[in-house]
Symmetry: C2
Subunit: 442 residues, 2 copies
C-alpha cells in the first residue's frame, strides 16, 4: 500500500473516485501503520477540496465502523433508535429524550461524548449525578439496554478507533470542516452502537458547528442519504442554535433541567426539541403513526411517570444516586452568584450562544483541551430568554462560581453577548426543517 | 506555533495569503519539530490547490534557503552564475557548459544532483571519471571555484535541509506537481550556492517533468519572477525534450560526449543547447554584449583550448583521472552490445525520451530508488537521431550491457519506443523560447 497510496491520494487530488475496496484498504493499512499520518493528512486535505461521493462516504463510514467492534443488540428484537446532535449550547436533550423514547417502546442504546470547545457533553452532565458511571463494559451495556430500555455510556476504545485517529489528525490539520468527513465520523460511531435507526439534530446558527442554514442543510441531507445507503433508517431535523437551549448552561444545572422535563416541568424550548426529535424516533421505529401521535405518546409517558421510571432504573443500573431523579433540586450549583442586569428597559433580542458557551468553558463548566476536568457546579442560568421583556437593572443572567473565582471578567463577557431592543423581536421557530429519507431509498 | 499552525493551514486552505514572517515561522518550527510532518503535508496539499503568490514563494524559498548554510563566495568578485535543468534524458550539458562559461570569465559554482527516475544526474556521470570526488568540503569548494573557475559537487547536508525534508514528504503525499513548490525547491538549493545569477533550462515534452509547453512556460516564468524578486539575475530557456539529447544515455558515455564538446566535436544538439544556455549565462554576467557575442566567446574558448584547460584543472582539483579529459575515449562502456535495427527503410520520426530513460534505468544506468547504485558502463547509444534516414535492418540504437545481462527485453522496449515514417519529418527547433526578467524587475 505504501507506494500505491501516493497514486490514490493523487487520484482524489485530481477529482477522481476511490473504489470501496480502495477506501477499505486505506483505512486498514492506516490502522496497521502501513500508511503514515502525513499521507493520511494529505489525503484528508485532498478530500476537503474534492469531496467524497455518497458511495465513497458510505465506504469510509463502514471502513471506520469495522476498524473496531460493533455492539450486537440482536438479543433485543425491538427497533433500536438513537439521536445524535451536532452540538449546541445548553443542549441537554439526550438526557430526557432517551428515557421518554424507551418508555414508548423503542430501546435507545446511546454512546455519547464529552464537552469540547464551546459545546457541552452528555457524559459530563450525567456525571453531575453522584456515583453515575459512564464507563460501562459492553456486556453490561447490552444488558441495561435490554432490561431498562436505555443506557448512556462513553465511547469505548473498541468503537471506531479509525475515526478516533482520523479525527485527531483532522483537528490539527484544518480538515474538520468537510461534510463527507463529518458524515463518516458521526455515522461510523453511531452505527457501532447496534442501532436500526438514527435521528440527527443538526444545529444551525451562532452556537452551532454549522453557522448557516445552507451548510447545515447540506450536512443533514448528506447524513440522511449516506446513513440510508448504509442500511439504517435515518431522519435529520434542523434546529436553531443562535441562543442557548433552555435556561441552563453547565453540568449539574443542565441535568437538573433535563430531569425536570421528565417531571412535566422545564423550559418550553427544551420540551419542544425533545418532543420533535422523539416523535421522529418513534416514527422510524414504527411505533408512532404520525408526528402528532409521536408527540402525544411522549407527553403521555411523562404524565404517567413511565419515562421517569426508566430514568430511575437507568441511573440505578449505572450506579448513580437515584434520589436525584425524584428530586432534581438536589443537583446544586456553586454558592457564589453574579447577576448580570439589563442596562436598559426593553426586550432581549439575542443571547449569543457561542459566547455563552465559551464563557461557561472559561468558568470551568467545559474543556478547551480533551484532558481537562470539568466542574459540574459552575454554570450559567438564563433568568430571561430572548423575546422576554426586562426592566432597566433587572437581572437577565446569573453566573454560578466557586468562592475563589473572580466573576467580573465572565460577567462582562456575558453582558456583551446579550442584545436588547425597544420592540419585541419576532420569535423564530426552533425547528427549521425535517429531512427524511426518500421513500424506498433503502 | 502548534496551535497557530492549524489557523495558518486553514487560511491557505481558504485561499488566503501567508505573510513572509508566517512562512519563515512555519519552516523554522517544522525544522525544530514543533510542526509535525502531518501538518506540513496538509499545508502542502492546501498549497497544491490554492497555490502561492510570488511573494509567498519568495518567502518560502528564502526560509528553506536559510534553514541551512549559504556558501559565501564573496571572496570572488566576479559575477558567479550557474545553470539548472529541470531534468531530461541524455542531458550532460552541465559537464561541458560549466568549464566553457568559467573560461569566458564567469565562475560557475555548481551543486548538482544524482539521477532519479528516468533522468540521469550530473554527479553520477562525473563519477564515471576514475577518482573523481563529488563530496567536497565547503571550504575546498570555495577554493576550487576561486582558483579553477568551476567546481561540481553534490548537495551537502548543510544546503537547504528544509527543502530536503519537504521534498521527501511531497514525494510520498502526491504534492510534487505544484509550480510554486517546485520553484521554491529549485531556487532554495541554487541560491545556497552563493550565486549572483542563474539560467534555468526548463525542459518540455515526453522526457521532461513538464509534458506541455503551457506548464513548462508557467514554471519558467515563475522561476524567473521569483528568482528575480529574491534578488538574483535569472533567465529561463524552454528547450524541447521529446527525444534524448545527444547520442548517449548513461554515465561514462555521457561524460565522454560532454568532453568531446570541449574538444570541438560532439553532437550538434548538445553543442547548440550548451551555446544557448552559456550565452544567457554570459549575458547575465555582463560579459557578453549579445546572445551572438556570447556564442562567439564560447566557441572561441573551445577553439583555443581554454575551456578544456578549466576542465582539466577541475578534474585534477577533485581527484579525478585527468588523462580522460584529454582522451575521452578512455571512458569505455560494457562489452556486450545489442543493436536495434530499423524494421523498414525510412526516416526516424521519434525516439521516446521517457522510454529510453526508463530503459536505461532498468539496465542499471540510473536508479528508481535513491539508495541504489548506478553502473557507469551500461547505457544506450543513438546511432541515428530523429530526422535521419535509415535502411531496413540498419542499426538505429546500440545498447551496452554487462556480460551477465539479458539484452532482449531492453532491446524490445527500445524498439517499441522508436517511430518511423516514409517521409522526412519537419525538424522542430531545440530552443522553444527564452524568458528573461522584466527590465528593472530587481
Amino acid at each position: 500500500m505504501s507506494v500505491r497510496i501516493v497514486e490514490l491520494i493523487a487520484r482524489k487530488r485530481d477529482g477522481g473516485e476511490l473504489a470501496s475496496a480502495e477506501i477499505e484498504g486505506i483505512i486498514s493499512a492506516f490502522m496497521q501503520g502501513e500508511i503514515t499520518d502525513y499521507q493520511m493528512s494529505a489525503l484528508l486535505m485532498a478530500i476537503f477540496f474534492r469531496g467524497l461521493s455518497d458511495g465513497e462516504t458510505v465506504a469510509l463510514t463502514e471502513a471506520m465502523l469495522h476498524s473496531g467492534s460493533v455492539v450486537s443488540l440482536e438479543h433485543i428484537t425491538a427497533f433500536k433508535v438513537d439521536k445524535h446532535s451536532t452540538g449546541g449550547v445548553g443542549d441537554k436533550i439526550s438526557i430526557c429524550l432517551a428515557p421518554m423514547v424507551a418508555a414508548c417502546g423503542a430501546p435507545v442504546p446511546m454512546v455519547s461524548g464529552r464537552g469540547l470547545g464551546h459545546t457541552g457533553g452528555t457524559l459530563d452532565k450525567l456525571e453531575a449525578i453522584s456515583g453515575f458511571q459512564t464507563h460501562v463494559e459492553v456486556e453490561r451495556f447490552r444488558e441495561i439496554v435490554a432490561s431498562v430500555g436505555t443506557c448512556m455510556i462513553g465511547q469505548t476504545r473498541e468503537i471506531a478507533p479509525a475515526d478516533k485517529r482520523i479525527y485527531a489528525l483532522r483537528d490539527v490539520t484544518a480538515t474538520v470542516e468537510c461534510i463527507p468527513l463529518i458524515v463518516a465520523s458521526i455515522l461510523s460511531k453511531k452505527l457501532a452502537e447496534g442501532i436500526d435507526g438514527l435521528v440527527l439534530d443538526v444545529k444551525v446558527g451562532r452556537g452551532a458547528f454549522m453557522k448557516t442554514e445552507t451548510d447545515a442543510r447540506a450536512l443533514a441531507e448528506a447524513l440522511v442519504r449516506v446513513g440510508t445507503q448504509a442500511g439504517k433508517k435515518v431522519t435529520a431535523v434542523l434546529t436553531r442554535m443562535d441562543a442557548p437551549l433552555g435556561r441552563t448552561i453547565g453540568n449539574a444545572n443542565e441535568t437538573r433541567e433535563a430531569l425536570e422535563i421528565l417531571h412535566g416541568k422545564g423550559p418550553s424550548d427544551v420540551l419542544e426539541c425533545t418532543l420533535v426529535l422523539g416523535s421522529e424516533m418513534l416514527l422510524l421505529a414504527g411505533i408512532a403513526s404520525s408526528q402528532e401521535d409521536g408527540v402525544n405518546r411522549l407527553r403521555a409517558c411523562i404524565k404517567d411517570g413511565s419515562a421517569l421510571a426508566v430514568m430511575r432504573k437507568m441511573v440505578e443500573a449505572q450506579g448513580g444516586d437515584v434520589s436525584v431523579v425524584d428530586d432534581p433540586s438536589k443537583l446544586t450549583m456553586a454558592e457564589q452568584t453574579v447577576d448580570i442586569p439589563a442596562p436598559v428597559a426593553g426586550y432581549i433580542t439575542g443571547m449569543d450562544a457561542l459566547e455563552f458557551g465559551l464563557t461557561a468553558v472559561a468558568m470551568g463548566a467545559g474543556r478547551s483541551r480533551a484532558d481537562e476536568n470539568v466542574n459540574p457546579r459552575v454554570g450559567i442560568e438564563l433568568l430571561k430568554k430572548p423575546g422576554e421583556h426586562v426592566n432597566a437593572g433587572e437581572a437577565c443572567v446569573r453566573l454560578y462560581l466557586e468562592a475563589h473565582q473572580q466573576g467580573d471578567v465572565f460577567a462582562a463577557r456575558i453582558a456583551k453577548a446579550i442584545s436588547f431592543s425597544m420592540a419585541g423581536p419576532t420569535p423564530l421557530p426552533l425547528v427549521i426543517d425535517t429531512i427524511r429519507a426518500e421513500p424506498n431509498a433503502t
